[in-house]
C-alpha cells in the first residue's frame, strides 16, 4: 500500500472516566472500503466518533493525507475532508430532503464542487420524488440514504459510516450496499462500522476487527474469509 489516505495511530478515547479505546491503529488506502467489525460495545462507533472529532480523542493521531486531525473541532475535521454519518442518522427532521442536502453543501479539498444537489438525486434516485418531504417523515432506509447523500455534499475524501445497515429491511440493505460499492468505484475512501458481517464482506475490500477497544485483526477481505479463527474468536456472540 502506498501512503494511506487515512491513518489512525494509537487512538485513545473515553466517555468521562470510562476509557473505551486503547490505542486503536489502522490504515486505509485511497479508494478502499474498510469494514470495522466487532461485537456490541467493542468500540466501533467510538472509533468513528473519535476520528470525526465528535468525541475528542485523549491521545493518538488521525492522519488524513499526511495531516494530523486529532483534537480538531468537528467542523474543521469535516472541512479537512472527513465526513461522518452517525449511527442514529440524525437527519434534520423539520427540513425537507433538499434542505438537508443544502445545509451540507461545500467545496471539496481541491476546491471543486463535485457533488451537487442534482448529482445527489442522480445517485440516490429514490430520494428525488421525496425532495420536498420533511426528512422526519421518511422511512428508516430513506433517512439512511439521505444521511449518506448529505455527507457526500461536502465532497469528502473519507466517508465514515456508522452501522449503515442497522434496522433496515434486506432489500434496503442491498440497495445501500450497491451505493457503497458505487462510491468506492468512484474513488471515495470509506470506513464503515458494522455488525452485519455478510453486508461487510459484500462491500469491503479490507477488514479490521476491534475487540475491547483495540484492533485485534487487520487484513484483506479474502484473508478474512479464509481465516476461521478470527470470526469465531472475535465476532460470534
Amino acid at each position: 500500500m502506498s501512503e494511506p489516505e487515512l491513518s489512525v495511530q494509537g487512538l485513545d478515547a473515553a466517555y468521562g472516566a470510562s476509557q473505551v479505546l486503547f490505542g486503536v491503529s489502522f490504515d486505509v488506502g485511497r479508494g478502499e472500503t474498510l469494514a470495522l467489525m466487532g461485537r456490541n460495545g467493542a468500540g466501533k462507533s467510538t472509533t468513528l466518533k473519535a476520528i470525526a472529532g465528535v468525541l475528542p480523542p485523549r491521545a493518538g493521531q488521525v492522519i488524513l493525507r499526511g495531516k494530523d486531525m486529532a483534537g480538531r473541532k468537528p467542523y474543521r475535521v469535516a472541512h479537512s475532508g472527513i465526513a461522518y454519518v452517525p449511527e442514529d442518522r440524525q437527519v434534520f427532521p423539520e427540513h425537507t430532503v433538499e434542505e438537508n442536502l443544502e445545509i451540507a453543501q461545500k467545496r471539496g479539498l481541491d476546491g471543486t464542487a463535485g457533488w451537487t444537489i442534482p448529482r445527489a438525486f442522480e445517485s440516490f434516485p429514490l430520494l428525488l420524488p421525496l425532495r420536498r418531504r420533511m426528512a422526519g417523515r421518511l422511512s428508516g432506509g430513506e433517512q439512511q440514504m439521505l444521511t449518506i447523500a448529505r455527507a457526500l455534499m461536502g465532497n469528502p475524501a473519507v466517508l465514515l459510516l456508522d452501522e449503515p445497515s442497522e434496522g433496515l429491511a434486506p432489500l434496503i440493505v442491498a440497495e445501500i450496499g450497491r451505493l457503497i460499492r458505487k462510491l468506492r468505484s468512484a474513488g471515495t475512501t470509506i470506513v464503515l462500522a458494522e455488525q452485519n458481517s455478510r453486508f461487510c464482506l459484500a462491500v469491503a475490500t479490507r477488514v479490521a476487527v476491534i475487540d475491547k477497544g483495540g484492533i485485534v485483526w487487520h487484513g484483506d477481505v479474502e484473508q478474512f474469509h479464509t481465516d476461521p479463527t478470527v470470526q469465531s474468536r472475535y465476532l460470534q456472540v
Binding site: A52, Y75, P86, F92, I103
Partner: protein, 300 residues
C-alpha cells in the same frame, strides 16, 4: 375599572383609531425586542435576561448619534449596529460560556451585566430622564383618520418594524443561513459535523437578536424617556410576549406582541389601574389553555 369609558371608546371611530395606532406602536416595538429574545432562546438555549439592557443601550446610542449628527437615519443605524457590535463582544467573551447552562447560572450572569451596564450608562449619560428630540422631518401635524390621531412617526415606526419582521422571516425561512440556523437549533453537533462552524452561526444569531433590541431602543428614543433601568420593564413585557407566543417562535411573538400592545392601549382606558395585571392575566390564561404558548412546541 371604567368599563363605560372602554365601551364608549370602542363605539367611537376616533377613539378606536387613536388607541389602535398607539397599541400597534407599543406592540411592534415590543415585537422587535421579543423576537430577538425568542430567537436567542430558540437557537442558543440562552434565556437572555439582559436583553432589555441591549434595548436601553440602543436608545442611548441613538440619542448620542442624533445629538452629534441630527440625522434620524444615522441615529437608528447607530443604535442598531452599535448594539449588534456590543452583542457580538459580550457573546464571544461571556455568553458563549453559558449556552445550555442552568437557568440560574444564566440569570446570575445576565443580572450582573444588567447592573454593570446600568451603572456604565449612568457614568456616561447621567442618571436623568433624557429624551431624543423628534426629528424635524417627522415634526408635522398628526394624521387625522376617522377623527382619530395618528402621529406621522407612528407610521414610520410601523413601516420600519414590519419591514424588519418581513426581512427576518425571509432570512430565517428562505435562505441557506436561516435553514442552517434552524438546523443548528435542533442538532448543532450534526450541523458541525457537516462542516459548518456553529460558533460563528451562534455569534451571528446573537448579534442579530441584539441588533433587533438596539433598533427597538433607537426607534423608541424620540417617543419614550431614555433612562438607566429602562430595559427592565420592556424585558418583563418581552418575556410575557415570548411565553404567550411560544418560546422560540417568531411568528408567535408577533401575534403576542400586537395582542399585548392593544391590551395596554385599551386597558389604559378600561382598566387604568390594572393594565399590567391584565397582561399577566392574559399570560396565565394562555398558559392554562395551551402550556406551550400560541405557536410553541415546548411548555414554557
Amino acid at each position: 375599572m371604567d368599563l363605560g369609558e372602554l365601551v364608549s371608546c370602542v363605539g367611537s371611530l376616533s377613539c378606536l383609531v387613536t388607541q389602535v395606532s398607539a397599541g400597534l406602536t407599543i406592540g411592534l416595538l415590543l415585537f422587535l425586542v421579543a423576537s430577538g429574545l425568542t430567537l436567542i432562546f430558540g437557537v442558543l438555549g440562552l434565556v437572555n435576561f439582559a436583553h432589555g439592557t441591549l434595548y436601553m443601550l440602543g436608545a442611548y446610542f441613538a440619542l448620542s448619534a442624533y445629538a452629534a449628527t441630527g440625522s434620524f437615519l444615522v441615529s437608528t443605524l447607530a443604535g442598531t449596529l452599535g448594539v449588534a457590535t456590543f452583542g457580538l463582544l459580550i457573546e464571544r467573551t461571556l455568553f458563549r460560556r453559558i449556552y445550555g447552562a442552568d437557568v440560574l447560572m444564566q440569570l446570575l450572569v445576565c443580572y450582573a451585566l444588567i447592573l454593570i451596564m446600568d451603572d456604565v450608562v449612568k457614568i456616561i449619560w447621567g442618571g436623568d430622564f433624557l429624551k431624543m428630540d423628534m426629528p424635524d422631518t417627522f415634526r408635522r401635524p398628526p394624521f387625522i383618520i376617522g377623527g382619530g390621531i395618528v402621529p406621522l412617526f407612528y407610521l414610520v415606526l410601523f413601516g420600519v418594524t414590519l419591514a424588519v419582521a418581513l426581512l427576518l422571516a425571509l432570512c430565517m425561512g428562505r435562505t441557506r443561513f436561516g435553514r442552517t440556523v434552524r438546523a443548528a437549533a435542533v442538532n448543532s453537533t450534526m450541523v458541525a459535523s457537516l462542516g459548518v462552524n456553529t460558533n460563528m452561526v451562534f455569534a451571528a444569531v446573537f448579534a442579530i437578536g441584539a441588533a433587533l433590541a438596539g433598533l427597538a431602543g433607537a426607534l423608541s428614543a424620540p417617543i419614550r424617556s431614555v433612562v438607566p433601568g429602562a430595559g427592565v420593564s420592556i424585558l418583563i413585557e418581552s418575556f410575557i410576549v415570548t411565553v404567550i407566543g411560544g418560546m422560540g417562535s417568531i411568528g408567535g411573538a408577533l401575534v403576542a406582541a400586537l395582542l399585548i400592545g392593544l391590551t395596554r392601549s385599551f386597558g389604559s382606558i378600561g382598566f387604568p389601574l390594572f393594565t399590567e395585571g391584565l397582561m399577566f392575566l392574559m399570560m396565565a390564561v394562555v398558559l392554562l389553555l395551551k402550556p406551550s404558548g400560541l405557536a410553541g412546541k415546548h411548555p414554557a
